[in-house]
Symmetry: C2
Subunit: 342 residues, 2 copies
DNA sequence: CCTTTCTAGGAATACGTTTTCCTTCGTAAG
DNA sequence: CTTACGAAGGAAAACGTATTCCTAGAAAGG
């Protein structure tokens, strides 16, 4: 145990070379499997490295290679519910390639964003993932940055930059098809504010599937409101009033679905027997806490992060991709649509 | 815009020096305010740096200085609800000192943990914060690591290592004092499994405050169960049955409180008029989604992160701290205890 | 005019690697 | 016996910066 405050010297390749009785160049070759060396020499160096607990200094290596095996993940929403899984998916995919991730939380402050950008440039990050909580296009982060950038769960106003997005329309379609397959015939759709692209896309997918099935549900029947439980509680009463005989409700978020579920129980409506309920986000504490648990659409955020990482790795390799790219959603069935499933 | 795949050369201090017509050493001194230079020379160098958009290579600097201005935050719970705010608090405090943070998510896998440890050592991180979701002591991460470590929201079995923890007992006490100040007289406490230290501490703080106020609520009256809404729904009926006239319930988590709130509404009990309700965690989507919104105890997780960062900075400076250190909780009053507050 | 002192800035070294080029030695071919 | 060649490993350069030491010139004092 080193004394507190001591500048302890870590073991370098020089120590390893000395112990193995070879030059540093040879030691380097032995450890990296390069050059022409006798097997016995390689083993001797490897043994020395193990004995000393040698870990190569990544800074020195990066300085020479012009790469740091480091990327920044920059998010505008304090690593909230949406960017966390995206980030973890990315980190996982990058970690497999020995790439480490710098956390940057801008708190939606352009000044902080600029600061992080300078930092990442100073640290010579190999690339950059910009994560968001809304899929609306945002200002490009720095067109002439000189570093590859991939957007995830958001996109740049410069539509040529690569962006990985959830397939919101496909998600709405999945919900529709699931409810139709259950034999439901009178539908409601309660969702968030219409200014959100995601809300509009989900509604469009849902309506398209309805039209294809010959059901009389159109864009005019969509109830836009807030992303809150309170709105769900309120809108449920609205739907019951305007759509007699309704037997299925698709909600634009799990929180809305929770509110709807609450109201239905209060007015004595059974879920799923009388009304089947589908949420969106598959947000564990929400869907599992509900009674019955909610069937929900999962955007597979980790996949979005993983795909973003893959695109970034390609760009770093010099084969950049362009424009938006969607990742499919997945429906997770639970008690709110089928009594058997828990 | 560089051609795709081009190994673009960033501007170095050499370029700046050339443009300013000075040597590299002089340029360095000018930019860092060192050495003896004419003011005119400093200005000329600064102008050149600005013109070229020069950002010093932190790797090179770190290689020389033996410090990287980098720390790792390692968490066992996939940056869940608890470690995220801790991490953000730490990142904020560290970022002010120009220190960047590597994200490491071990997924509770010792092998992954070891891998991250090797990585951080290779990258010569200046220090390490270990964050958890339970305050139970965990195995020390590497006693002879040679790098300062601070635990946050968890602690090491080696009780000498510095750990920053929430004051769970104090939180329980806050809840009790709040309910007593409201004039409530018959109490219930519903919480998670007794194997959780946090559950026991919160209960202890609550009971202690009750005893001091001369109320007949003892450790035997605590209802231990699960950390789930379902348990809250179930336990609420239990309390109503075993404790006639109960007018206040303190819950060990917001999720439990949500369940309790649900049941009370179903059986026609008004919150807060008939029963005042206090949760724990102050988890926004839970407390704000409830009807009425929940009064809750906030562990101030960001403060925990900030304090952990401060301790780590001290340790890096060579003045390590020792043992556990608690951060006080805060009560946030809402509609579930006082009708006026929204 | 000569010597000392101070100032401004240049040259060189170090940090820890990787890689390129070079040297040495042994062996086989002519 | 001489030449060519392959194998094994050493020496040195390079990456970008900070710092220490040194030098050239100017100013000041005798």
């Amino acid at each position: 145990m080193p004394a507190p405050g001591s500048k302890l010297k870590r073991t370098t390749i020089r120590d390893v070379a000395a112990l193995a009785g070879v030059s540093i160049g040879t030691a380097s070759k032995a450890l990296n499997g390069q050059g022409k060396l006798r097997a016995e020499t390689r083993d001797r160096v490897a043994a020395a490295a193990r004995e000393l607990g040698f870990a190569p200094n990544v800074l020195a290596r990066g300085l020479l290679a012009g790469r740091t095996y480091t990327v920044g993940v920059i998010t505008t929403d304090s690593f909230g519910r949406f960017s966390i899984p995206v980030m973890l998916g990315a980190e996982n995919a990058l970690g497999a390639g020995q790439i480490s991730v710098f956390m940057c939380d801008t708190r939606d402050d352009p000044e902080r964003e600029q600061q992080y950008l300078d930092m990442l440039l100073s640290r010579r990050a190999d690339g950059l993932i910009v994560a968001g909580r809304r899929i609306e296009p945002r200002p490009s982060i720095g067109p002439t940055l000189g570093v590859p950038v991939v957007y995830a769960m958001t996109q740049s106003m410069d539509s040529d930059e690569p962006a990985i997005l959830p397939d919101d329309a496909g998600g709405g379609r999945l919900a529709a098809e699931h409810l139709l397959a259950l034999g439901r015939r009178r539908f409601g759709h309660i969702t968030g504010p219409p200014r959100f692209l995601a809300a509009r896309m989900r509604a469009r997918g849902f309506c398209d599937a309805m039209a294809e099935a010959g059901m009389p549900f159109t864009a005019n029947d969509v109830l836009y409101g807030e992303w809150s439980e309170a709105w769900g509680r309120e809108a449920a009463r609205l739907v019951m009033h305007t759509t007699p005989g309704v037997d299925a409700i698709f909600c634009g978020s799990d929180q809305i679905a929770r509110g709807v579920s609450d109201t239905l129980r209060l007015i004595g409506c059974r879920v799923p027997e009388d009304i089947a309920l589908v949420g969106f986000d598959n947000w564990s504490p929400m869907v599992l806490g509900a009674d019955p648990p909610l069937t929900s659409i999962d955007m597979c955020l980790e996949d979005i992060g993983r795909v973003a990482a893959e695109h970034l790795l390609l760009a770093i390799k010099g084969e950049p991709t362009h424009g938006p790219h969607t990742v499919p959603c997945r429906l997770v069935a639970r008690g709110s649509t089928s009594p058997e499933t828990p």
